[in-house]
């Protein structure tokens, strides 16, 4: 083939520029440490990397969800543990009071202690974690219980549940509405049965209190008047449920020396303790589930990260070896080019 001068020049230029561009690509790969920086570098790998990126971001948000939720669960558990202690104290007092050897003033003293326990239980029910009343259902800005002047302890929350997403489409409930654990107490004073008396026209009052097995307290206050035989009966009915109902019944019974009813409160306290234990177990299971899910997510994250790095990161050993080889090739091309372009023509011999 006839070789022309321009042809030689062009061909050498092509060789040099392709060797240089390959060298440039490799040095880019070596310095960035990545072999896929643009989708066109390897479309298939790019797609996998993008999918992995979005999966990793999801998994990380699940992890962060769980670690936040775990803190709330820890608060919940310590509240319930506190509650267990309080119920224990109340049970001890009840057992003591029921054995019949205590005087009326001892029982009054015990009532004071029970009233303090009630206060502590209410405080526990109003535990606030990070601005959230954890026992108020979804009414997280509302305290779970308020105590009224009438003695009613009313649940202000709702029965809603809050959930946390821990994996694709899986949500776990992380709260228990307070009324299922703490119960409530509602005191209603009915209107007097007969017409009210003139002030000062009172001969004496008698009152009697009864509590039933459900913890309902009925206080009947009978007022006799001086002016006749008119008897005015005012009935206050306290309807209680759960722990608070039992504790209120206990308090009332102790206040009225009603030892028989004190004894019947033990059943209510045991039921309440069972409820608390069940609830604690239930959330301990959730915590376990979190830690298992965390482990599994962490191992998925590790393997995905490894896969991503396989796809995206350059194998430095190979790249550097290639780079060195390419450098040699480039030098060879340049030296060939230089010898061809600077080299001998007939001019050197004539």
């Amino acid at each position: 083939m006839r070789v022309t001068t321009l042809q030689t020049n062009n061909t050498m230029m092509n060789y040099v520029s392709s060797a240089e561009s390959r060298y440039y690509e490799l040095s880019q790969e070596a310095s960035s440490g990545k072999k896929v920086t643009k989708p066109s570098d390897d479309p298939t790998a790019a797609k996998s990397i993008l999918n992995i990126n979005s999966q990793l971001s999801q998994l990380n948000s699940y992890l962060s969800n769980m670690s936040t939720a775990q803190n709330e669960l820890d608060t919940l558990d310590s509240s319930l543990s506190n509650l267990t202690t309080l119920i224990g104290k109340a049970t001890d007092l009840t057992t003591e009071a029921a054995n019949g050897t205590y005087s009326s003033s001892d029982l009054k003293n015990m009532k004071t202690q029970v009233d303090q326990i009630i206060q502590s239980v209410t405080d526990t029910a109003n535990t606030n974690y990070n601005g959230t009343y954890i026992f108020s259902g979804t009414s997280t800005s509302t305290p779970a219980y308020t105590t009224a002047a009438s003695g009613s302890i009313t649940y202000g929350g709702d029965s809603g549940t809050r959930t946390v997403t821990i994996s694709d489409g899986t949500s776990v409930v992380i709260n228990t509405p307070g009324n299922t654990v703490f119960g409530s107490y509602n005191s209603v004073t009915a209107a007097p049965v007969t017409a009210p008396t003139v002030p000062g026209d009172v001969a004496g009052t008698t009152s009697s209190t009864t509590t039933d097995a459900a913890g309902n307290i009925t206080t009947v206050i009978t007022t006799k008047v001086l002016s006749g035989t008119n008897t005015i009966t005012t009935t206050t009915t306290g309807t209680g449920t759960g722990l608070l109902g039992t504790l209120m019944a206990l308090s009332t019974s102790l206040g009225t020396d009603n030892q028989k009813d004190v004894g019947s409160c033990l059943t209510g306290l045991n039921t309440a303790l069972d409820t608390v234990s069940t609830t604690r177990t239930q959330f301990a299971a959730v915590s376990n589930r979190f830690s298992m899910t965390k482990d599994s997510i962490n191992s998925t994250v590790t393997s995905l990260t490894g896969y991503k790095s396989d796809l995206q990161n350059a194998d430095l050993a190979t790249v550097l070896a290639d780079l060195a080889a390419q450098q040699t090739a480039l030098q060879a091309t340049l030296s060939t080019t230089s010898s061809l372009l600077n080299g001998k023509t007939l001019l050197n011999y004539i």
């Binding site: 061909t11 601005g131 997280t140």
Partner: protein, 528 residues
């Protein structure tokens, strides 16, 4: 047979050698000129036919009359030249396409942690945080700004795509200073130059003038003609036909652009919109003098060259990577993103109702939630979710200024009246979080991020194919060019050899003179 006839022969030899040396020097001078075709001297023995006897092998001495210059031949290889032009069009098409496609790829490159997919991830992280703390104002503010970030990513990608389109073909208002209008102008300019070169070729009547000046200038015209055609082929695909008088007729598809020395058509380019509102760029043929349209749409003929690439990358062919295709995918994603969030935010068709907050501690049980993502160009609230595209997607301004308007709560419709306190209810924000992993029919049964990955990877695949094709094409072109250069270019060694050869023959011819001179001296001395 006389001594003077030898001197005549020597004189002819000197003329031929001189012409040959001129040709060689022209070749050497143009050794690096692109598109230069080597010239060579064709010479032959002059035989006086009249003095030939019957047996042509026996020639009388007096019938010899020396050497003559036949012509100066220009090396050419028209088939390789035609092939070169065709490959040049393809090469220039791929290079232009690759440049435009790479800029599209840079925009949709989701691997660099700054793009839409990162914004989307951050948005879902913010949604997840909101879901943890449904009534928290900070979480709500973060959610709003993450949503705004997603919207502005859509906006800026869409803007950049239309900027690419604009720099290539202009917009509806004007296409001046766009790449295609510049290139069309170049085409017309080259066509004009070719016509005048054709006219000059006819004047010099190439190939028949036996003077070296005449022939080299004619050869220079042919070189100029060929290099103009080379320039033309890098813009549009043309086929050529060389006429007997040395002029060239140029076709684009079935259309004559140049017919001999007369210009037939100029190119013209204009923008319009099609039924679906896409910008359509049309190249037409017009009469160069009157400006009258001769062919309304010749886009289908321009399948190659850089103008062909511009038409493809700004076109709407679903099988090719183009701006409108990517914009369309982006718009689909933007409108789906909006509709997903707005549905979650406002849907009351089931047995549950989403609720916003009226204050930091209360749910709004009276007012239904507003839309979250809207068309920022909508004229009225009623049409705010109509025609959402990547260009106009935005977070509704009332929600942006009051993040309590995000409906994180969703309660039973029958419980709405009693739910004012349920600010910790996160059922609706859970739906938002779950939408991250939900596949949607409107997105081709993929998730939002999956759709984006597909889009990015598809662009990558196209670009990678174009890149490979461009690489192959460049090496094909280099080979053809090498072949062309091999058959028509200048080899310095060859020229130097010729130079010495002709120098020697010049010296020898000069020696004949001195010999004849001696002979004549001898003759003169005879007469004394």
């Amino acid at each position: 047979m006389s001594i003077t006839s030898s001197m005549n022969i020597a004189q002819e030899a000197l003329t031929v050698s001189q012409a040959a040396i001129t040709t060689v020097s022209n070749n050497i001078a143009n050794v690096d000129t692109p598109g230069y075709s080597k010239l060579r001297v064709n010479q032959s023995t002059v035989v006086d036919a009249a003095s030939l006897k019957g047996d042509s092998a026996i020639i009388e001495a007096n019938s010899l009359s020396g050497v003559q210059l036949d012509n100066i031949q220009r090396y050419s290889d028209s088939s390789t030249q035609g092939y070169y032009w065709q490959e040049n069009s393809a090469n220039s098409y791929l290079n232009e396409y690759l440049t435009a496609a790479s800029s599209i790829e840079d925009l949709t490159n989701e691997l660099n942690n700054t793009g839409l997919s990162t914004a989307l991830s951050k948005f879902y992280t913010a949604a997840s945080t909101l879901n943890q703390n449904a009534s928290d104002i900070t979480a709500r503010q973060n959610f709003v700004s993450a949503a705004q970030n997603v919207c502005s990513q859509f906006n800026s990608m869409s803007k950049s795509l239309s900027d690419i389109q604009k720099s290539l073909v202009g917009d509806m208002i004007s296409n001046s200073s766009s790449e295609i209008s510049d290139e069309v102008e170049s085409v017309n300019n080259i066509l004009d130059q070719l016509v005048s070169v054709n006219a000059d070729i006819i004047k010099t009547n190439s190939g028949s003038v036996a003077s070296t000046e005449g022939i080299t200038s004619s050869a220079a015209l042919l070189d100029k003609r060929d290099s103009l055609v080379t320039k033309l082929t890098s813009l549009i695909p043309v086929t050529t036909q060389e006429n007997s008088n040395g002029t060239m007729t140029i076709f684009m598809g079935d259309y004559h652009l140049i017919d001999g020395a007369s210009l037939s058509d100029h190119l013209s380019v204009a923008n319009s919109t099609d039924v679906s509102g896409n910008l359509v760029t049309t190249v037409s043929l017009i009469d160069p003098d009157t400006g009258a349209t001769k062919a309304a749409n010749v886009n289908s003929e321009i399948t190659s060259g850089s103008i062909g690439a511009i038409l493809d990358v700004t076109g709407t062919d679903p099988n090719k990577l183009n701006v409108s295709g990517v914009t369309g995918e982006l718009n689909t994603m933007a409108s789906q993103f909006a509709s997903i969030l707005n549905t979650i935010q406002t849907d009351t068709s089931g047995t549950t109702t989403p609720l916003t907050m009226s204050s930091a501690t209360q749910l709004d049980i009276v007012n239904p939630p507003p839309n979250l993502i809207v068309n920022s160009t909508a004229a009225t609230v009623a049409t705010e979710t109509t025609g959402i595209t990547a260009a106009n997607i935005a977070v509704k301004s009332t929600v942006a200024s009051n993040p309590y308007l995000i409906a994180a709560a969703r309660v039973k419709t029958t419980d709405v009246a009693t739910s004012a306190n349920a600010v910790g209810n996160n059922s609706n924000s859970t739906l938002i979080v779950n939408s991250q992993t939900t596949t949607y029919a409107g997105l081709g049964n993929t998730t939002l991020s999956g759709y984006l990955s597909n889009m990015s990877a598809n662009v990558g695949t196209e670009v990678s194919t174009i890149k490979d094709n461009a690489k192959t094409q460049a090496s094909v072109l280099a080979q053809v060019q090498s072949k062309l250069s091999s058959s028509t270019g200048v080899n310095l060694d060859e020229e130097l050899t010729d130079l010495i050869k002709y120098q020697r023959s010049y010296q020898a011819a000069a020696r004949i003179f001195s010999t004849c001179n001696d002979l004549l001296d001898t003759l003169m001395n005879l007469g004394r």
